[in-house]
């Protein structure tokens, strides 16, 4: 495996991890708004998860940017130039959301505002984030000599963008429903579990349909991607199998206990489903970062830097692992935290 491919593999891994955690994070914000004061405590459960974790998820987003700059500086140059407006909007929304998350913890009066801000930005931020995919597939960047710019009006009038957004949002809500269903089950809140389960039952097929439509209505400039995707069929077939396992295990009875479905299994199989599809998509996207102007080979960093970055990732993750473990124990496993009223 060449250095460039190793680097893009790392990058995709980070993007994948963030897209899962980001979906759960923003989705939880949305559900916390919808189910604020709901009798099942579904809103409170979403918020209980969100309070200690959003900061970590946010750090992961910064990690994505930093890793991209480190691994593919030329890519950072191109995307930094063309994404000025959309990314600035993301930053703006993120700042308001983060600030209110913290403020509402200190002063109760800000709770309602926080729920609304976090809920709405929980839909807007992912919509803006996923816009990078259609842009990277070509057709939305004008090149004039040395300068590149985003064709904003073409992007905003293109159905591809909205189908991607639809796919992104249904996936976000599906993943977060599954996660919160599992979280509710562990917290022994069966009513909230059933609520999130029924959301997931509704959303699951919608994610598949919107994915299909996204591919059907792809722009002519992105035909190359479709051809490449066809070569990666196997990953998508496996992904579909994972989806079916996940979806049907929502009806799988629990052993020796009342209650329907196995949310932990569903969640893990769904993560696998998205993982397999990401591999297929990622392979089809190679070697381009932005089609047709930028490949991973042109964008790659200095090799010396690449190796020292790799070493530091291994060292850093090893040092932080116990911290993540303690964190997981305290907020995702500890019954004293989960089962409080």
């Amino acid at each position: 495996m060449s250095e460039e491919v190793l680097a893009i593999l790392m990058m995709w891994t980070f993007i994948f991890i963030y897209s899962i955690f980001g979906s759960i994070d923003f989705g939880a914000g949305f559900w916390a708004m919808i189910y604020n004061n709901h009798k099942t405590m579904a809103g409170r459960i979403a918020n209980r998860f969100l309070s200690p974790t959003w900061e970590i998820t946010n750090t992961f987003l910064v990690l994505l940017v930093v890793a991209f700059v480190g691994f593919f500086p030329k890519g950072a140059y191109t995307l930094g130039t063309v994404m000025l407006v959309p990314v600035s909007l993301i930053l703006f929304l993120l700042a308001i959301r983060s600030a209110f998350m913290v403020f509402s913890y200190s002063v109760q009066g800000y709770r309602r505002t926080m729920f609304i801000i976090s809920g709405i930005s929980g839909l807007l931020i992912p919509s803006l984030l996923i816009a990078v995919l259609p842009i990277s597939q070509g057709g939305f960047i004008a090149v004039d000599g040395d300068t590149q710019s985003l064709l904003l009006s073409k992007l905003l009038t293109s159905p591809t963008l909205y189908l991607y957004v639809l796919f992104g949002l249904t996936s976000e809500l599906y993943l977060s429903s599954l996660f919160l269903a599992d979280y509710a089950r562990v917290s022994k809140k069966e009513d909230a579990y059933r609520l999130y389960r029924s959301n997931a039952i509704l959303l699951g097929p919608l994610t598949l349909i919107s994915a299909l439509f996204t591919l059907l209505f792809i722009t002519p400039e992105s035909r190359w991607l479709i051809d490449n995707l066809m070569d990666q069929k196997i990953w998508f077939i496996l992904s579909l199998v994972a989806f079916l396992i996940a979806y049907f295990s929502l009806w799988w009875p629990k052993q020796n206990r009342p209650g329907i479905g196995r949310p932990r299994l569903t969640l893990l199989a769904t993560v696998l489903q998205y993982g397999l599809a990401s591999v297929g998509y990622g392979l089809a996207h190679l070697p381009y970062i932005v089609y047709p102007d930028l490949t991973i080979y042109e964008a790659f960093t200095a090799p010396e830097t690449f190796y020292s970055l790799m070493i530091m990732y291994i060292v850093g993750l090893a040092i932080l692992a116990p911290g993540f473990y303690i964190f997981w124990r305290l907020f995702l496993k500890d019954k004293r935290y989960l089962q409080q009223e």
């Binding site: 946010n58 750090t59 200190s106 010396e304 303690i326």
Partner: protein, 446 residues
């Protein structure tokens, strides 16, 4: 305004805003750690109350420090894509390690805030220690990139801009890294301590029950002790940083001092302003020989003047004023902390007298002044490097984005910063009004 100036104004504003919260985000955790330690050693509950209340304030400030830091980090790529392309190749290492420091801080901050009641006491101390460690490590690592911009190292560049022979660790440990990063960390501690002293002094201005007065006096004494120590160390490290300027960025030192002619026995110009017409410092006080001595410890040291360098690479003249303001504030605060502690020792402790109003009011100003000193220091460091973004490698114009949509975005973010500032003040006052010290003291007794 042209795009480059607009990009500088935009980024400078983002950074200037973030620095306030980032500095307190480094300074306050140290105070919390010290208070927790004193509490565990002496068993005095007042220090536990201090730690608890400062944590509360710290958590609110973090609510702005995190998003504003995210903004600054991402805006680097948006506003300075040309710069970040070189950064990615040469100096991405500290950025990346900084993320780990950031994770450390975020993980343990959540643990300290949301799981405190489920943790044994010693583990709370460990958590807050890691928060403090993560915070100061972030500051040092991010400063590493800035020091590399001032004294770039660890790579070679061809005339066409191709970068080769990269050595990431040499870039990281560039000539000014240790001295400048240390200066950043220490001045953040100094500012955190003065910020606490400001609040304590303000509380002592009004008449209060004896129990509360004792509490605030303890806070004032503790913060002043830290402030005095840190002011002294930051003066020494600032002096060292100036010597690094003498060696590695001579035109910056020359502009800071308004020195035009290269000379031995160079004088130090304090105050005044650099007149662009006559090319000399006007209305300043000149101390003969002092600059040569400060630059390298000897009176006959030759200090380079601006005439030594091509005119188009001269930094703006106003950096002389910025430099004076930074050093002036640092010196003033060092003196203030010393006077206040001496007063405490001779009159408050021994004779039981209260602090006089004028001294308390000066102390109230110390926190904001210290923060201003930091801001002046950063503006000095970055405008003193102009016209370069990476000293003698890349100009600011080459680094900047070519995108022309900056104006509207700048206004949008100005609005955001104003909103967040107002909200921070409102939330801090609302919280501490609803939860006065007396309430925490009662809670502890019951």
């Amino acid at each position: 305004m042209d795009t480059v100036v607009l990009a500088r104004a935009f980024f400078g504003t983002s950074l200037g805003f973030h620095i306030i919260f980032a500095t307190l985000g480094v300074g306050l955790p140290l105070m919390i750690v010290i208070a927790e330690i004193i509490h565990q050693v002496k068993g005095d509950n007042d220090y536990a109350i201090m730690a608890k209340r400062w944590t509360k304030a710290f958590a609110v400030l973090l609510g702005v420090a995190i998003p504003s830091g995210t903004i600054v980090g991402v805006q680097l790529s948006l506003l300075w894509p040309g710069f970040m392309e070189i950064v990615g190749k040469v100096i991405s290492l500290p950025f990346q390690i900084e993320i780990f420091a950031f994770f450390l801080e975020a993980l343990f901050m959540s643990i300290y805030v949301y799981a405190a009641d489920r943790l044994p006491r010693y583990f709370r101390l460990i958590s807050v220690f890691f928060v403090a460690l993560g915070a100061v490590a972030s500051a040092i690592l991010i400063s590493a990139v800035n020091t590399w911009m001032n004294t770039p190292d660890g790579f070679k560049i061809k005339p066409d801009g191709t970068i080769y022979d990269v050595s990431p660790w040499d870039a990281f440990f560039n000539p000014s890294f240790l001295s400048s990063s240390f200066h950043v960390a220490i001045t953040a501690y100094m500012t955190g301590a003065f910020a606490v002293a400001s609040v304590a002094a303000f509380k002592l201005l009004k008449k209060r029950p004896e129990r509360e007065r004792a509490y605030h006096l303890k806070g004032l004494f503790m913060s002043l002790t830290v402030a005095l120590l840190m002011s002294f160390v930051s003066a020494v490290s600032g002096h060292h940083s100036a010597q690094i300027l003498h060696q590695h960025s001579p035109e910056k030192l020359a502009a800071a001092e308004g020195l035009f002619e290269t000379q031995r026995y160079a004088p130090l110009a304090i105050g005044g302003y650099t007149d662009p017409k006559t090319e000399e410092v006007k209305y300043g006080i000149e101390i003969p020989w002092a600059l040569s001595w400060l630059a390298a410890g000897k009176f006959d040291t030759e200090v380079k003047g601006l005439y030594e360098f091509p005119r188009e690479t001269w930094p703006p003249f106003y950096v002389h004023t910025l430099f004076n303001l930074m050093v002036g504030i640092g010196t003033l605060l060092l003196g203030l902390a010393a006077v206040a502690l001496a007063y405490w020792w001779f009159f408050v402790k021994r004779k039981g007298k209260p602090f006089p109003k004028w001294l308390l009011w000066s102390l109230v100003l110390s926190g904001p002044l210290s923060m201003l000193g930091i801001e002046f220091g950063w503006v000095f460091s970055c405008s003193g490097r102009q016209p370069w973004t990476i000293y003698r490698v890349q100009t600011t114009a080459e680094a900047a984005t070519k995108n022309e949509d900056l104006g509207v975005l700048f206004l949008l973010f100005l609005g955001l910063y104003a909103l967040l500032s107002v909200l921070t003040v409102l939330i801090l006052t609302a919280y501490f009004k609803r939860n006065p010290v007396s309430k925490d003291m009662e809670k502890l007794q019951s």
